[in-house]
């Protein structure tokens, strides 16, 4: 077989990691551990910097569009690092033939979302390519933020200790299934709406109420299972999760049963994992629940006193199993 890049390498699981390690990290000389945002320390000026590309098909889906996603995604990558997002860039690759009205609507929602998140879009770039050279519209956003030195530890989880509690801010899997439904691939309508949202204000409240937030990460491509496995590998410790405590909406549960998907592996665009020191979980949960973006927050598990980097799932039926890193894209089942 000739070696070409396959879709599996973009799924966010093991193969994506291998691609990043073998092709990019090695050549760019990026220091481990890899986090959503980089902390750049230059002559006393500490900034957090991140970038993300957005290629969603279709461009519009229930709960958002590619533009809203491009702002939320980058804002959230900054915010989970403990940073306060300041400004973004936005670059557009546009396929000829895209209706101008669509572009205007997308850009307007970027402006609206940026205003909501209190960030400025300050620079950008535009390229138009021939039909077939890209799929309608690709957007890349980069962002910078400021960070209090007290929060540096958050993105690498260096203060995590056994007993720390894991919290998510709401139900999982909605974004992935909303996009799948909008792709017209399901021969029925679903009530599922993407959770796409900027979480920097919510995160700001959490950091204000607790000085003991030990880790945060947004649960995008690859879902909760991927983030948990990355975290376990990074801190060299086991993690225990109670399946019954992980919030999943009924329509998502039903669709997953039907399609053979595991919601723990599905992408979210408005969900984060928070690791808080034991004892702080109640006040963190309370503040999350007081906000519409965190009203369904749950404590889902804890850091174990186990030097094996693995994620143990206590299943709803009383069994135990390893929650593995996903491998390749999730494919709908046959029967």
């Amino acid at each position: 077989m000739s070696v070409t890049i396959t879709l599996n390498q973009g799924s966010g699981g093991k193969q994506t990691h291998r691609l990043i390690e073998n092709v990019f990290v090695k050549r760019f000389g990026i220091a481990e551990p890899l986090t959503d945002s980089a902390l750049v320390r230059n002559r006393g000026m500490d900034i957090v910097f991140t970038t993300d590309s957005f290629v969603v098909d279709p461009l519009f889906f229930p709960g958002g569009n590619i533009g809203k996603l491009a702002v939320c995604g980058t804002v959230n990558d900054l915010a989970v690092s403990g940073a306060v997002p300041v400004c973004l860039s936005a670059a557009f690759i546009i396929e000829e033939g895209l209706p101008e009205g669509d572009l205007v609507e997308i850009v307007q929602s970027m402006a609206d979302e940026a205003e909501k998140a209190d960030v400025k879009i300050v620079t950008g770039d535009t390229k138009v390519v021939e039909k077939g050279k890209c799929d309608k519209l690709f957007i890349t956003t980069s962002g910078t933020g400021t960070i209090n030195p007290d929060q540096w530890h958050i993105s690498i989880g260096e203060r995590i200790k056994p007993g720390d509690k894991l919290i998510v801010n709401g139900s999982l899997g909605n974004h992935a299934l909303a996009v799948l439904g909008a792709r017209n691939q399901l021969s029925f309508r679903t009530p599922v709406i993407s959770d796409c949202a900027s979480l920097n204000h919510l995160i700001g409240k959490v950091l204000k109420i607790s000085g003991n937030i030990h880790f945060m990460r947004d649960l995008t491509r690859g879902g909760l299972a991927t983030v948990l496995n990355e975290l376990a590998a990074m801190i060299g410790t086991g993690i225990s999760i109670n399946e019954g405590s992980v919030p999943i909406d009924d329509p998502v549960k039903g669709l997953c049963e039907m399609l053979g998907f595991d919601p723990l592996y599905l992408a979210n665009e408005g969900k984060i994992l928070i690791v808080a020191r034991a004892g702080d979980e109640s006040k963190v949960l309370d503040i999350l629940k007081s906000d519409p973006l965190g009203k369904d927050s749950h404590i889902i598990g804890e850091i174990m006193d186990d030097r094996r980097s693995r994620v143990i799932l206590n299943t709803v039926s009383g069994g135990k199993r390893i929650l593995e890193m996903p491998s390749g894209i999730q494919l709908p089942r046959i029967c």
């Binding site: 709803v316 039926s317 494919l331 046959i334």
Partner: protein, 366 residues
């Protein structure tokens, strides 16, 4: 969620597991025939609350796993033809053929689309009159009715650019082949979805002819633990029979409408099963009156026909002779993102689920 939560109930499962512990005498091995069961057993950690003397082994009921390499080679060959669109259920695209897979062909530019049903493939054919659209029909009695409806629809609408490459199979001949092969089991956890279509009667011959118990089983933890309990009771009373645990879906007669569609469109044929070779009367081929939709008759394939998997032991695993960790490739050369054998591809494949959930290791965790 109704019909889900109550069948995952921790207390009920724990009670059933307690009963199992109380009545199970000596070592007992049951085969879960269906890949859906294999997947559920691992996903819910069912082995972690069964006593050590109860062993569950996977059977041949993962459609992707038993699909012949030559079928993949044919699909790959088709995908390389000009103006052909391949439509397929998702799992199949990653199964390695002799020198390539559909995944690989897709990254090289072949038009390969994942569909959720045959009817969706037919819509693609109607929308692309200048292309030939080939639907890869795989699966057992569960998916064959859907394909049958699609073929009838294609005939009614006179869709001339739609073709079926059929690897559809039926379950009972493979279960009989396993028994004749001398597998050492004490009963079958029978496929609930298959029986929902066919009716329970298709397994009646097994206790009669081979003195092995059968329990037609649902796919939730309560279903599976209850089925194991029922099988143990049969063993204890020396009274093998065909029982239905999955009463909310399975009847004696099955889904008459679905059976009628299947009978109108398909006839049984000899079919190649990975790991078994040819099993007489175990495949479904299009009847002559639908021959115009048969890709086998409409395309010339330039394909390799090698069935040898090298050191891969998928065949023995599918026949219940070995378990995934017995394979020299398991977890070394063969992993889910680089599958060598088909059992490592599908979510329902024994190797894939075994690898993903590393169940044994977890059993040791307290």
């Amino acid at each position: 969620m109704k019909y889900i939560d109550e069948f995952r109930d921790k207390e009920l499962v724990s009670k059933l597991a307690g009963h199992i512990k109380n009545i199970a005498r000596g070592d007992l091995t049951f085969m879960e025939v269906c890949g859906g069961h294999t997947s559920a057993i691992h996903r819910f950690g069912i082995k972690s609350f069964l006593p050590g003397n109860i062993k569950l082994i996977s059977g041949p009921g993962c459609p992707v796993c038993v699909t012949a390499t030559s079928f993949i080679n044919k699909a790959v060959g088709c995908s390389r033809l000009k103006d052909v669109i391949i439509t397929t259920f998702g799992d199949l695209i990653r199964v390695p053929g002799t020198t390539s897979s559909l995944d690989n062909e897709r990254s090289n530019g072949a038009d390969i689309r994942i569909v959720f049903s045959g009817l969706e493939a037919l819509e693609i054919a109607i929308a692309n009159p200048n292309k030939r659209v080939v639907f890869l029909g795989i699966g057992f009695e569960t998916t064959a009715p859907g394909t049958a409806v699609t073929i009838k629809e294609a005939a009614t609408k006179r869709v001339e650019n739609f073709f079926l490459l059929s690897a559809h199979k039926i379950m009972p001949p493979a279960m009989e082949a396993i028994i004749k092969d001398g597998v050492n089991i004490d009963g079958f956890i029978c496929p609930g979805h298959v029986a929902a279509i066919t009716g329970s009667g298709i397994f009646d011959f097994i206790p009669v002819k081979y003195k092995l118990g059968c329990v037609i089983t649902g796919f939730e933890p309560v279903d599976i633990t209850q089925a194991i309990l029922m099988l143990i009771s049969q063993v204890n009373s020396h009274d093998p029979k065909n029982e239905i645990q999955y009463r909310r879906a399975v009847t004696k007669d099955g889904n008459l409408m679905a059976k009628k569609q299947m009978e109108e469109v398909f006839e049984t044929c000899d079919a190649f099963w990975r790991g078994f070779g040819i099993i007489p009367g175990s495949g479904l081929a299009l009847k002559n009156e639908f021959a115009e939709f048969d890709a086998e008759k409409s395309f010339t394939f330039d394909v390799e026909s090698k069935e040898d998997d090298g050191p891969c032991i998928c065949g023995e695993i599918l026949r219940g002779k070995k378990s995934p960790p017995d394979c020299p490739l398991f977890g070394k050369g063969c992993i889910p993102d680089n599958p060598i054998g088909a059992c490592m591809v599908s979510n329902e494949g024994a190797c894939n689920t075994w690898f993903k959930y590393s169940n044994n290791e977890c059993n040791n965790y307290t």
